[in-house]
Symmetry: C2
Subunit: 167 residues, 2 copies
């Protein structure tokens, strides 16, 4: 009975993450490419930057979960280490959209194969010693954090929409 709960809660956390991904996907499939070069608010990040940023933040779950290397290391500099509008736009919306979908498919396939023990184990950025002290620094916590980070930026992206969606 309790075992079922653990697996179920992990599934609920994954479902919340997937639901957030779907919102982002919908947003970036709704308009003409030029639209995503707009800033979400005056002087703020452009939508294209936030898409690259989410990919660059999320693909780090692969090494953090011992699932392989980051898929798009070339995104780290323009979308993570430097602010928007400081690098040339070398990637198109179509390319970033494809990266986004490939990353989500890759993560989802890996998550499907992870067992409870994997989720509750430490991620690779925390040492065994630190994890012994703080056992909540597990992979599931990273996914919760990534979902919250993504929702934070989704709230900004929707400011571009003519009429904000009810969520």
């Amino acid at each position: 009975m309790e075992t079922d709960f653990t697996a179920q809660i992990i599934k609920q956390v994954i479902t919340a993450w997937a639901a957030s991904n779907k919102l982002i996907s919908k947003f970036f499939n709704e308009y003409e490419d030029a639209y995503y070069f707009n800033e979400v608010a005056p002087g703020r990040n452009r939508a294209i930057y936030l898409l690259g940023h989410l990919i660059a933040v999320n693909h780090s779950m692969l090494p953090m979960f011992n699932l392989g290397e980051r898929l798009y290391p070339e995104l780290e500099n323009p979308f993570l280490k430097t602010p928007d509008k400081t690098s040339a736009d070398t990637l198109t919306i179509a390319e970033l959209r494809q990266y986004w979908e490939t990353l989500n498919t890759t993560l989802a396939a890996n998550f499907d194969n992870m067992q409870t023990q994997d989720w509750m184990d430490r991620h690779t950025r925390v040492s065994e010693q630190d994890f012994a002290i703080e056992p909540t620094r597990n992979k599931l916590n990273v996914l919760i954090g990534r979902t919250n980070h993504q929702q934070y930026h989704y709230g900004q992206l929707t400011l571009l929409i003519q009429k904000e969606p009810a969520i």
Copy 2:
């Protein structure tokens, strides 16, 4: 072993919610009251509206979790059922800030007393029949959803900050 995991994951979800609350509290304690009457982006919601909105959305967890009535039903109309700038501002920032803190303290105290079975049980907006079909429609899922909703609006609030915080 597995039982410990369930309790631990629930705690992690509550911790993520509390961390989000803390960010909102910090934001609304940082500036002069007049600041919160600014729109987060041109023509969008004002920060004061979003604070009232978060209270109005979050206090519904009390009846949904069978913990009592909503604390501030008078917020439903101006901050939930109608858009910003369609009602007079009858509450001050100081009052809303106090409501926000009281609500969070109330929810946190109640959450502390909830057991695993409570979290995994249905919330009151889903019928027993529907819950039998979809057992993920439990109280924990509501809290996950509320956290994601709050982060969505927190992302918008931070657009008001001179320099966006790194999160």
